[in-house]
Symmetry: C2
Amino acid sequence: MLLHSFVKQKRKAADLTQPELAEKAGVGLRFVRELEQGKESLRLDKVNQVLKLFGYEVGATPINRDNL
Amino acid sequence: MLLHSFVKQKRKAADLTQPELAEKAGVGLRFVRELEQGKESLRLDKVNQVLKLFGYEVGATPINRDNL
DNA sequence: CTTTTTTATACCCATTCGGGTATAAATGTA
DNA sequence: TACATTTATACCCGAATGGGTATAAAAAAG
C-alpha cells in the first residue's frame, strides 16, 4: 500500500475531511493535500504526525509488497 | 525496528561505511549521519533513496511493533 | 440545474533541510 | 602508546518545505 493511498483510505474510514485531519494532526492543510497526492519530498516528522492518528508510523517495508 | 537502527544495521550488514552508503544512495554524507542518528525532520524522498539500496521503502507500519 | 461541501492549485515568505567542507571525537588495531 | 579508520559536530548558503490565505475546480447533495 502506497503511503498516500494509505492516508487517504484511513482518513475516509475515519470519516474526516482534509481540513479536519490537518487540525487533528497538527499540520497544515496544504501538507495533508500534498501527502495524499503522493508528493515525495515531505518531511518525515510531519508524516508521522498524521500516521500517529491512525496508530501507525513511518517504517521500512519491503519493496515488492503486493498491493492489497 | 526504528528507522535509523534499521539503516545502520543494513549498512553494517552490507559492510559499508557512511561515506560509501551516501555515495551509493546519491545523498550527502551529512544526510546519512542524521538519518542513522534518528533525526526526525528528514525528507521522505531522501530516506527512500537510501532504503531502496536494501530493497526497502518507506511505508506505514503499526506503532507497537515489537523490536526484534 | 443549483447549492453546498470537499478537494485542488497559486501566491508570499519565514524556517530549515541538505550539500559541501573542515575539524574533532570515537573506535579499532598494531 | 601511536596510527589509521570511521563517525560525529560546526559553519555557510542555496533551495525547497510548509503554513496561511485566497481562489478555482470537482464532487456530492438538494
